[in-house]
């Protein structure tokens, strides 16, 4: 059973922020998809509510298990994750030019969404083995790259899912850096990367789909293609900008329902929120995200052991990455990579995956004093 002290240490603020952001997400989805000509309200918001309920249950289950259990089973979980990634390429459902979904009859899910968490657990486990203060040495890094990075990244790029591949790469680098790798090693890796970048870049570039190339090119010059992808960025800026200081008011936004801004309830949900709630509302929203991220780093700092620390760090990095990539895209300061806004964007798998990740964070946080039983 759950220890009383664990309940006492439970971070209600974190859970409150998560639930609040998810519900703000539902309200915004409701407004973004509200009908203007068609009679009926689309059911996106309802489905999102079901997913929140489901995710909450998953969150609670995950909190109740000691994170040590994940760490000790990390490699098994990793193996299962890899198998799922292979499976999705074999039996996966195709949609929108990519093969990302495995159909489970009642529902379908994206293995790559959950693999990010598996990836963090695996790295946390492996990184624990280096001596504190020294950080992982070059051979460790090479081993990690070969064993844990290249395989999933290649599999995920095959789907293709550039966003997830990028985030794995980013989580890897930031976790290794945080682990305290010596400057000399960082420099060496950097130099090697810089030298190999043109080749790798060429390889990656040729492996990209046409629409992905377009997105990167458009980020560099959005005006070049106002009706295409640049249209998204321009319309997103218009949507956010037209909110002004205090916003148009809830359910008063026009850019989404009138379809000037596509993908309005998924990737561009922040734009819709900013249109309706203005600069003030966006500041409050930013504060809530900052609160979760700050709690994440705080948890890493206070974790009772290195495993907990790495888990908390990895999750916080991932969460931050999604937030900055998504909001940066809507603000027109980052390329359009199709990353959802954590907790708010419509999409069940992503929501569940975020709740699971934050569940692990909560798990680490509430067990930070467990050494003193």
């Amino acid at each position: 059973m759950i220890d009383r002290r664990l309940v006492d240490n439970f971070d209600w603020g974190l859970l409150f922020a998560m639930i609040a952001l998810s519900l703000i997400g539902v309200l915004t989805i409701y407004s973004a998809t509200r009908p203007v000509l068609d009679a009926a309200q689309k059911s996106f918001y309802m489905r999102q509510l079901y997913w929140i309920a489901l995710s909450l249950v998953a969150f609670l289950i995950l909190v109740s298990l000691d994170y040590k259990w994940f760490i000790s089973n990390a490699y098994i979980v990793y193996a299962i994750g890899i198998i799922l990634l292979v499976l999705v390429l074999v039996i996966g459902r195709k949609g929108m030019g990519a093969q990302r979904w495995i159909n489970m009859g009642l529902f379908s899910f994206q293995p790559s969404e959950f693999f990010k968490i598996i990836f963090i657990i695996t790295l946390s486990r492996y990184l624990t083995y280096h001596k504190d203060g020294a950080g992982p040495d070059l051979s460790m890094i090479i081993k990690m790259v070969v064993l844990f990075l290249i395989i999933p990244v290649v599999l995920i790029l095959k789907q293709p899912d550039l966003g997830t591949a990028l985030i794995l790469f980013f989580i890897f680098i930031s976790m290794v850096l945080a682990a305290g790798t010596k400057r000399k090693i960082i420099l060496t890796v950097l130099i090697i990367s810089l030298i190999s970048l043109p080749f790798a870049g060429k390889f990656v570039w040729s492996g990209l789909k046409e629409y992905q190339k377009q997105r990167i090119l458009t980020f560099i010059d959005p005006q070049a293609d106002p009706q295409g992808v640049g249209y998204h960025i321009n319309q997103s800026k218009v949507t956010i900008g037209s909110g002004g200081f205090s916003g148009k008011g809830y359910m008063e936004g026009t850019q989404g329902p009138y379809r000037f801004l596509p993908e309005n309830h998924t990737d561009f949900i922040f734009s819709i929120f900013a249109e309706e709630w203005g600069f003030l509302g966006s500041l409050v929203l930013f504060f809530m995200y900052f609160f979760i991220i700050w709690r994440g780093f705080d948890t890493a700092r206070k974790a009772r052991d290195r495993e907990g620390c790495f888990l908390a760090l990895g999750i916080t990095y991932m969460f931050s990455f999604y937030f900055f990539v998504n909001v940066g895209m809507t603000l027109g300061v980052m390329p359009v990579v199709g990353a959802p806004l954590p907790l708010m964007s419509y999409g069940g798998t992503a929501l569940l995956s975020n709740f699971l990740a934050l569940g692990i964070l909560e798990n680490v946080r509430m067990r930070r004093f467990a050494l003193y039983y």
Binding site: F279, F290, I293, W294, A300, T316
Partner: protein, 582 residues
Amino acid sequence: MEKRISVSLYIVSILFCIFIFRLFSLQILKGNEYKKIDEHNRIRVVDILAPRGIIYDRHGRALVKNVPSFDITAIKEDVHDDSDKLLAMSRFIGLKIDVLKTRLKGSAASPFENVILKQNVSFKDVAKVEAGKADFPGLQVNVVGGREYLHGHSASHLLGYLGSLGPRQSNKPEYKGVPKGSFIGLFGIERVHDMTLRGLAGKKILEVDALGRIINVVRIQRPVKGQDIQLTIDIDLQIEAEKSLKGKAGSIVAMDPETGAILALASSPTFNPNLFVRGIETRDWKRLIRDPRKPLLNRAIQSQYAPGSTFKIITAIAALEEGIVDRNTNVYCSGSTRFGRVFKCWKKQGHGSVDLQKALVESCDVYFYEVGKKIGIDVLSDYASGYGLGNLTDIRLDGEVAGIVPTRKWKMETKGDRWYKGETLNTVIGQGYLSVTSLQVASMMAAVVNGGKLYRPYLVTGSGSRVMDDRMKKIRPLHIKLLKKALLGVVEEKKGTGLLAKSDLVSIGGKTGTTQVIGGGLNEKDTPEKFRDHAWFVAFAPVDEPKIVVSVFVEHGGHGSSAAAPVAGRIIEAFYKSDMDG
């Protein structure tokens, strides 16, 4: 490790600051700019054209009708520009793909502006586009104001025509608030009274979605219909006048001498204003412009000619009022007189003994030469301009010309020479430098028979009855009687030059005139048309209490007595018949 976590937190904080700054820049610094773009996205302002006022004749019969006409238009921004879609669209509306492309590319100022693809389409096409436009975003049917001139060629110089408001006019203050593509009057009553007829365009402010579907009508500002205008002309009389001129070049003006109201103002040849309604075809325009008979010219007010013997009315008034002659003054006409050189009468063998009555009835030139020997040109000119000659009548139609009444000063200013007394002798019989319009001649006649009031001729009911000129030399009632009797004689007496105008219905008075085109007394029938004289006749009826004044001018018609007088008689009879009917 602790240190690296702190570094991570710093980085995150810095990123948050950058994002907040970016948000500040988008929402606060550029907020208004983006609000405008946002409105531009979804707000469409559609003009609702105001129905144009109807023009009626004096009896309330409509002369024009508003008929809606339909254009297929597109909002460029909303049209998908991939070539398959464009091809499908071109097939759908029946427009060649390259024409469609150039029209779409055309010079619309804003991508949200309507571009006209096809004008004046049939009702069947309208129904088709309305039914299928969901498949072609941006495609629209626009209703535009069309105009039908119910009597075709009739009264075209009066009514004028419409044309679309061009970019040049739209900047002018008088067209402020008139939506682009509106039809505005470009000529005639349609132009002069455009402000009255035009009405006020309304606006529909719509909210549309990204596909151009109307979501919401924000506001409707109803158009205000243009005011109707009632003209003083009688369309039957107008048609009768035009019929009389058929095949000839000339003009007829009929006027109410008691008010100055124009009853008919015909110019021949005419044109069909219906050709102009939806933008005249280049072919039709060229034909009108190149026609040597100049159908667009309103000869009643835009052409000036020597008045010929009709001017003798003025000379007679001047002579009587100045005491140069009285009713008993006799002059012997031997066919010519000497004054420096020989001045011939039109009748070679002469009229014998001539008094004022006979001089007018038989249009004896010698009698008036004698007056000319005694009268000063400036005195004569004073009378002429007092009766409106040489001045704009201010009828308020396009391009009216003033004519010329020569004076010493005028001669010095324009010719740089002094006035020769012999030139006065040319002037008294209506030749020389004199030139007048047929409207002026009608207006002069009206002022003579109504006892000396020169009214401004007017076309729109309620805008007239203003006496023009107080410089006018008063004419004594006794002299009016004398003149009327003489002018009655012109039509009624056996030797009268206006005998062909005689009517059994009503007593008619008048005066013929012939304007020499080239010198010499060639036989009328042997002369090629373009060298033939112009024919004048100015008439009034009934003689006792005149209700109508008519001036007839036939270009190269030959003699006034044969070419113009019978026409005047017919018009007056037509007026009387309809007066008796109604």
